[in-house]
């Protein structure tokens, strides 16, 4: 079979599986987050009540947006402090069989912010830095809680549309507890065990010493990997237990584990569009968001596959066989694993950057120029196709607000969306939201390339080195966490600068989203008239995609031209 046809079939099968999951999972999330009685809520009620009683939470309290936002940021900052402390105190903590010492202050800061913000940018190498307790009680806990935080913001934003004349947008503690207990924890537990069946390790043993067939010594790392791997994908976190992340055979050993990990990455973000449609009482409103996400996603996956499968002309020029066939994947295999080849690596690279995941099963730094352009561009679009857990939905809703505003300007009517007037305050907040990350990315990259400390990090010469730096700030500010990993990022400069980018890139947009939610919830519903622009059809989908591309392309084309585009032409000319 032609490799392109095989890829098309694989991609269709993958998307088919995703679409099968969207409605049941989206319905389930809506039900538990709205507290609509079902089997799970009844079973969990005693645990929930106990949690609230021990924490002094009044589950009936409704929070105005500002209190919701303060509770959220406070909870996240406290979480980061705990992760920082665990790393600094590691030498004195149990469950550290390799006796790793305390992590440096700047690296601990970077990692703490990284995991609390759902970024999971990793300047450290897991198997030689983090003991099991830090991985479990520090990093994996934040994998759950940062993803739950994203769901909270998305649900609060939906309430902005569903409530009328309301002063409050929900209770952060209740939303957090429910999304963790009923959504993330059960899914992670099931996925973890399936991953173990495939070979992902799960133990507390010390590392093993093997004497290889050719009588060399090899150390085999151990640890509670599967329990962390599952939430790493489901929560679109992406922080690997090991340095090689999901390319490591102990994290992702088979084509089946890889398929399940890719599905886990995109499942909740896509399902939340259905949750949205269901909660606003018109599921078509959710399907159009999903359609816009897929229309952005699919061509970029195909682009990545195409350029990776074409391979590296400089390697072909040495007589190396890069042709795809029944006996090999062919193509650009530098930085890729045999079991994944080109197709499963390209799809994973796109899935992990179209969400805020950032797990990798191949090394993006070694992709071809335009193959590597795809993950970089998907991140820079703002991770909304389908985006991270929760973040994808609220980012898309911000672009929907921008879209109806642009449409309103064109036809000279006050813009409205789902029965809510979009006015100056919402537009200001949407602008803050949309401009925050481009500012952080471009300013951060500019500072890095203008200073010796920044330039010192680049591992590859020329345009590719620039791409490494641009990718680092794109990834940090958009809370992705993947990297062109040749960049020597474990320096004070990068630990501090990307740490700040991650923090501001996470919480500015969250606060803006919650403020929009609060403002919308307070408004009255305006009736649908003949003059109302429908937001459930093809016209709205194109408007949405147009807004996303307009902002993304206009903002990043100059920087992208200096990186992957220049490199592409250099590669073409280098033969």
């Amino acid at each position: 079979m032609h490799p392109g046809v095989l890829f098309a079939l694989m991609l269709s099968a993958f998307l088919g599986l995703v679409l099968l999951v969207v409605k049941p999972l989206g319905t389930y999330i809506a039900d538990v987050m709205e507290g609509r009685p079902n089997f799970v809520l009844r079973a969990g009620a005693p645990i929930e009540r106990l949690v609230y009683r021990l924490s002094g939470v009044d589950a009936g309290e409704e929070m105005p947006w500002a209190r919701y936002a303060i509770a959220l940021v406070l909870f996240n900052v406290l979480g980061a402090v705990v992760v920082y402390a665990l790393q600094r105190l590691q030498g004195h903590l149990p469950l550290n069989p390799q006796q790793f010492a305390a992590v440096s202050p700047d690296s601990s800061f970077n990692t703490a912010v990284s995991f609390a913000t759902n970024t999971n940018w990793q300047a450290y190498s897991g198997e030689t830095t983090m003991g099991y307790l830090v991985q479990m009680a520090g990093l994996a806990v934040q994998n759950f809680l940062s993803a739950a935080t994203g769901i909270c913001v998305a649900i609060a934003m939906i309430r902005g549309f569903t409530r009328h004349g309301a002063a409050a947008i929900g209770n952060f503690w209740v939303d957090l507890t429910r999304s963790t207990l009923y959504v993330l924890l059960p899914l992670s537990a099931v996925l973890a065990l399936v991953l173990v069946s495939q070979g992902v390790i799960q133990n507390f043993a010390p590392y093993r010493q093997a004497t290889t067939v050719e009588a060399r010594t090899q150390t085999l790392p151990m640890g509670p990997v599967a329990s962390q791997e599952s939430i790493k994908e489901l929560g679109t976190n992406g922080g690997g237990f090991f340095n090689a992340n999901s390319a490591h055979p102990y994290e992702n050993p088979t084509p089946l584990s890889n398929l399940l990990e890719m599905l886990a990455i995109v499942a909740i973000p896509f399902a939340l569009t259905y949750t949205f449609g269901r909660m606003v009482g018109d599921t078509r409103q959710g399907w159009v968001l999903l359609a816009a996400m897929l229309i952005l996603f699919v061509p970029l996956v195909v682009t990545a596959y195409h350029f990776e499968q074409r391979g590296n002309p400089l390697i072909a020029a040495r007589g190396i066989d890069q042709r795809a066939g029944p006996a090999q994947a062919g193509g650009n295999m530098e930085g890729k694993e045999t079991r994944f080849g080109i197709a499963a690596s390209a799809l994973f690279a796109a899935a992990t950057t179209a969400t805020s995941c950032g797990a990798v099963n191949s090394m993006h730094d070694s992709m071809t120029p335009l193959g590597g352009f795809v993950p970089l561009f998907l991140i820079e679009l703002g991770e909304l196709a389908p985006g991270g857990v929760g973040t994808g939905l609220y980012t898309m809703l911000m672009f929907a607000i921008l879209g109806v505003f642009i449409a309103g300007l064109m036809i000279g009517r006050t813009p409205e969306y789902l029965g809510k007037k979009i006015e100056a305050l919402e537009m200001k907040l949407a602008s803050v939201f949309i401009l925050t990350t481009p500012f952080l990315v471009l300013a951060g990259t500019a500072v890095a390339v203008a200073t010796a400390a920044g330039r010192a990090g680049a591992a590859n010469p020329g345009a590719h080195g620039f791409s490494e730096i641009l990718y680092a700030f794109s990834s940090a500010a958009n809370n992705n966490g993947s990297a062109f990993a040749g960049l020597a990022a474990n320096s004070v400069f990068y630990n501090v600068s990307t740490g700040l980018a991650m923090f501001l890139g996470r919480y500015w947009p969250i606060v803006a989203s919650l403020a929009v939610a609060g403002s919308l919830a307070a408004k009255k519903r305006i009736p649908v008239t003949d003059g109302t622009m429908p937001t459930h059809g093809a016209l709205f989908v194109s408007l949405l995609i147009g807004s996303v591309l307009l902002i993304g392309v206009l903002t990043y084309v100059p920087a992208l031209a200096l990186g992957p585009v220049v490199e592409h032409f250099m590669l073409a000319a280098a033969k």
């Binding site: 694989m10 021990l54 924490s55 002094g56 303060i70 509770a71 406070l74 909870f75 406290l78 198997e127 030689t128 479990m136 994996a140 759950f144 503690w173 957090l176 924890l185 537990a189 173990v196 069946s197 495939q198 799960q202 093993r208 004497t211 290889t212 067939v213 050719e214 060399r216 090899q218 790392p221 090689a244 390319a247 490591h248 055979p249 089946l256 890889n258 398929l259 400089l314 390697i315 040495r318 007589g319 029944p326 006996a327 090999q328 193509g331 930085g335 890729k336 045999t338 079991r339 080849g341 197709a343 690596s345 099963n361 090394m363 070694s366 590859n460 990993a485 040749g486 490199e567 280098a574």
Partner: protein, 192 residues
């Protein structure tokens, strides 16, 4: 307002850490040990004398002509360092990448000067993890004559062993055909 939020924030964090950071991984570890003990422990392979030879999932370095070699590994300080999983992270235009490919080509050609087949890309490019346990069927076929000669085996015997170790795609769609290098080499050793 801030002080009223501190208590729920701190207590929820403690409770969630106990649940998600301790109870959850401990329960999963117990269930994994009961259901899939070999996989949970690292798919370890022991020799006849009970010594640990390695893991079926973690590639190891082979350099003797009588063994199939795995993918080039970019780990440091030595290839297939289990403590340092990494790819090369070399960009496609980087002269260092082409130097590496050139060195890998020379090593393969020197070990098998009569082999006129084009070298498959998997044998000259570094894997993502540096620990790739597998090679493609083309990578194996390229080395079959060298291994057969070094072991004084018939080529057809070696090729049959390769075929027996070949794993296909999941449902014909997902992943790539591949052969586990350590398992293939251990099977070769067992032939004698």
């Amino acid at each position: 307002m801030f002080l009223r939020l501190i208590r729920p924030a701190a207590s929820l964090l403690v409770l969630m850490t106990a649940l998600l950071g301790i109870a959850y991984p401990v329960v999963i570890t117990g269930a994994a040990a009961a259901l899939f003990p070999r996989a949970a422990g690292g798919s370890l392979i022991y020799g006849r004398t009970g010594t640990l030879v390695g893991s079926a999932l973690i590639g190891q370095r082979f350099s003797e002509p009588k063994y199939f070699w795995g993918r080039p590994s970019a780990t440091t300080p030595q290839p297939y360092n289990g403590l340092g999983s990494t790819g090369s992270n070399l960009g496609p235009l980087n002269p260092a990448l082409l130097a590496e490919v050139g060195a890998n080509v020379s090593a393969l050609r020197d070990a098998d000067p009569g082999n006129r087949m084009p070298i498959p890309v998997g044998l000259v490019t570094s894997s993502a993890s540096g620990l790739d346990p597998e090679i493609s069927p083309a990578d194996a076929r390229f080395q079959a004559e060298r291994v057969a000669r070094a072991r004084k085996l018939r080529l057809s015997t070696v090729e049959a062993l390769i075929a027996a170790h070949r794993r296909g795609r999941l449902l014909g769609l997902f992943g790539e055909p591949r052969i586990n290098v350590l398992e293939l080499n251990l099977a070769l050793d067992r032939l004698h």
